[in-house]
Amino acid sequence: MGFSIETFLMNYVLYFIVPCFLISMTLYLIRLIKGPTIPDMVLATACIAYDACFFMCMLSIYFRNAYLILAAFCLALWAFILDLYVAKYLEARELGE
């Protein structure tokens, strides 16, 4: 029985990489909930969004379907949008200006 890429990949991802990312997501969440100021919360949200983007890429290999990666594409394009909205909220008098 030779070395199978598929089995090794699934086990390694399930037992090492996903737990790592889940731990870090939990820590980001603690920062999000504690966050003394609003910019802290926004930073944590952006980090969570990038992690979610990674999960979506990973799961498209897991489900063996290339169409699924379209969602990661979309999320990557506007993961930073909350930063801009809140920055605008903090800086400007009206959001449209």
Binding site: S24, T37, F54, A66, A76, D83, L90
Partner: protein, 126 residues
């Protein structure tokens, strides 16, 4: 010929696994930093590691990993291309988000820097 292709697959696979593992470790480090650092402007460093080291590097890893997964069939080239583009977009866009929020936090005095030694920006802006 076919054994050559097989070995190339293994090489790609281990490169991909290595990059993904590095990314996972970076992400844990960044999250600990974001939790433990004392102030917003210090936490910005950790957040940038979390976006570049914790998302761009592992997504490139996923792209190279997808190339080696022969069980995906021709779809693996699609996943490879899309992942590379996603990594480039995040690489391009994540610093802009941090820049915008930091600038807004400084200019609107929402967060007053505590551990600052020499504030050149305030002198310029008055």
């Amino acid at each position: 010929m076919s054994s050559m292709v097989l070995e190339l697959n293994y090489v790609l696979f281990f490169i991909g696994i290595t990059l993904t593992t590095i990314g996972a470790i970076f992400d844990v480090i960044a999250s600990i930093g974001l939790l433990r650092f004392p102030e917003f402007y210090v936490r910005l460093h950790a957040a940038t590691i979390g976006s570049i080291g914790g998302a761009v590097v592992p997504i490139i890893g996923v792209a190279i990993l997808a190339l080696s997964c022969t069980f995906l069939g021709p779809q693996r080239f699609f996943i490879f291309g899309c992942s590379i583009v996603i990594a480039m977009i995040i690489f391009f866009v994540a610093p802009v988000g941090s820049h915008a929020i930091a600038r807004a936090a400084y200019r609107s005095r929402t967060v007053v820097p505590k551990y600052v030694v020499h504030d050149e920006l305030r002198r310029v802006r008055g």
